[in-house]
Subunit: 407 residues, 2 copies
């Protein structure tokens, strides 16, 4: 009879329960893969279990409780006791990852966290292991399934943000309190983790600028469709002269972009570097079972392999003002010369226009433009000045665009 693999489980919510079931159902496969019989040796919930006793009994700690307190203390205690840890806790890693990576390195013990970013889409392992010696230029993608579902639905149905959020909640794709998903904070935590791993530099959540999707209007999506664009909430971490940028924002993509066909609650991450060109990974980015499957993959690896030790020898600056391309939506008075005035003003700022669509008449007249890449601070100054023109009927609205056409 093979040796047991004793799992101390912290937290038994949706993912924790799915993990317990999966360990039972896959017992034979786990034994083939690891040579050991996996058993849940202890479970800690708010009403049950004693952490010290669970740790003393465990070969590995699986942390699925979420939040940073008390998860941080438990994970650090396990690592310091020489017990490997698997966690799906993105907030924990994005806020206090540095201390935990250091504790794991000092103790020479594995800390694995595939499920913390994009659930079962294996981005953490691929960035850390397959591409362990790659000097990435860019890591970006759709890392929040709730917002991708909402944007896909809004584009398909023309419904409002509020109605679509309600529908997402009814279908289980959005939580009762969706704030962290829809405002971009959830994606920001994942991008902090990815940027740290990709660029070997300390990045924490408070360094990530993020915007959400709450103010996206159905007519933005309708006009964009005419321009051939699809809207995604993107996380972008990119190496630039002088540092890196790590941000989350809604963004239009041209057709043929590898991320534009990613619809519904799926996630997709692209990594770019000269020696790999670009590699894209996509799949379900949430779900109890799919997250549990990622944890199980880490469990097998804890037994059969060594995790790479994360180090952050670089100390790159996180830049906030970078070049972007924009979609600009102006509700204008239906009178001669408006386009000329707006174009002159943009030109004075050195900003060039890629395309313009004039639409509607009378009280529905609009200018919808795509602006070529320019420094964001300069664009925002120009937009502020445009917003002061008498001919504007409403404040200008803008959304970033990835300009490359792939078709």
């Amino acid at each position: 009879m093979s040796e047991t693999l004793k799992i101390g489980l912290l937290g038994r919510g949706t993912v924790g329960s799915a993990f317990v079931d999966l360990v039972g159902e896959r017992a034979a496969t786990i034994e083939v893969a690891t040579g050991r019989r996996a058993v849940i040796s202890g479970v800690l919930t708010t009403s049950q279990g004693d952490f010290d006793q669970i740790l003393a009994d465990a070969d590995v700690i699986v942390e699925l409780m979420g939040g940073t307190d008390p998860a941080f203390d438990y994970v650090r205690a396990a690592l310091e006791a020489g017990v490997p840890v698997i966690t799906a806790n993105k907030q924990l890693l994005a806020r206090r990852g540095a201390e935990l990576f250091e504790a794991a390195g000092r103790a020479g013990v594995q800390l694995r966290f595939e499920a913390a970013v994009a659930a079962v889409v294996p981005v953490i392992r691929v960035v850390q292991e397959s591409f362990g010696a790659v000097e990435f230029s860019k890591v970006f993608g759709i890392v929040n399934g709730t917002t991708n579902f909402i944007l896909s639905e809004m584009a398909a149905t023309g419904a409002s943000y509020a109605d679509t959020l309600k529908r997402a909640q009814d279908l289980g794709y959005a939580e009762a309190d969706p704030t962290e998903d829809v405002n971009g904070a959830d994606a920001a935590a994942k991008m902090a983790i990815l940027a740290r791993l990709a660029f070997h530099t300390p990045v924490t959540l408070d360094q990530v600028d993020f915007e959400g999707i709450e103010s996206v209007q159905p007519d933005d999506l309708a006009y964009a469709k005419e321009l051939g664009l699809s809207l995604k909430l993107l996380g972008v971490a990119e190496r630039l002269p002088g540092g890196i940028t790590v941000r989350v924002f809604p963004c239009f993509l041209y057709p043929g972009h590898p991320l534009s066909p990613i619809e519904g609650p799926f996630n997709a991450v692209m990594v770019e570097a000269p020696e790999i060109t670009e590699v894209t990974m996509s799949g379900p980015g949430a779900g109890g079972l799919q997250t549990a499957a990622a944890v199980l993959g880490d469990l097998v690896s804890v037994v059969t392999g060594d995790a790479p030790t994360h180090q952050a020898p670089e100390a790159l600056e996180v830049l906030s003002d970078v070049d972007s391309s924009f979609y600009l939506h102006l509700e204008v008075a239906d009178e001669p010369g408006v386009l000329a005035r707006v174009a002159k003003l943009l030109s004075d700022y050195g900003i060039s226009v890629k395309s313009v669509v004039q639409r509607g008449i009378g009280s529905d007249a609009r200018l919808v433009m795509v602006i070529h890449r320019c420094l964001e601070s300069r664009f925002k100054q120009a937009v502020a000045e445009i917003g002061g023109l008498d001919s504007l009927r409403a404040p200008p609205r803008y959304i970033r665009v990835i300009e490359e056409e792939f078709v």
Copy 2:
């Protein structure tokens, strides 16, 4: 000064040269990732080097010579000497993998081969490590970039197969002798490797049925476009009642299928199982630099981790007659009753028709049909009988279809 990591390199063609350059350019990154300074300690080419001496000097052997002879002897000798091996040699693994996996397991030494399938797209690691305890239902995808380039170009330009092959050769996407790529044999070798790993069962190249793209006609692509279909050369490994199927064939996909946007020389692999739903990985499937980057990822892992030991405890039957859906193209006499006769005959075989397009008049009259899933042997019997009808002006042509609509 850190310890050296001595690399014995077998073969210095396109990939081997790119690997030597990459090891030089990424020296600092490799040292951060592994703690060791990578050096090429010996190179074996047809005109240079002595294998025994190279092996005696090496911490790791990198086999990039291709072919099975003498690569098999060298790789086995290295493993038996306790020296880990990295290879990009799909033919070697598809034909004689069983012996090499056994040698690696017996010696307790790593055998890594990410570059053997889809170059830098990390399918081997993901199947073996991220999803080490997943019970896959299906692993399939586009694993030959040459044929995907040719099919993309034919669809875009309407040019013939022969002209497009010539263009692919001029652009460096097809070799001077493209036989193994265009007839499906290259893809078959990759699918033999993927099926073995996914299903933990011995699969060798001679068990993989394969068809190529040589007989694809421009009008197949034109008619398919009307039906909304795109054509790909697919490798498919699937678990079925009674065994598995491992095959390579040209196949139409409906729009919205995750593989349909994969154009040009890219590769993409999808893996499916209940607990992971579906995960897709795509990127450049060939190229000297991209293949070398995959080898470098394995090199870092040889130092920092343990490779999973591949075992094949299952002994699944490889089935050859399975259900498929088909596109059927009939050049028919322009006379009443042809459709009725064909439909009656299909119906007599219990085969049902999903859609029919009648096109052309006189000597250009055609019936283009999509047939619902049925046993391939039965479909082929029906087609043979249709081919015998007086009303046919040419032998029937058919191509498989993946029927699921994703949109």
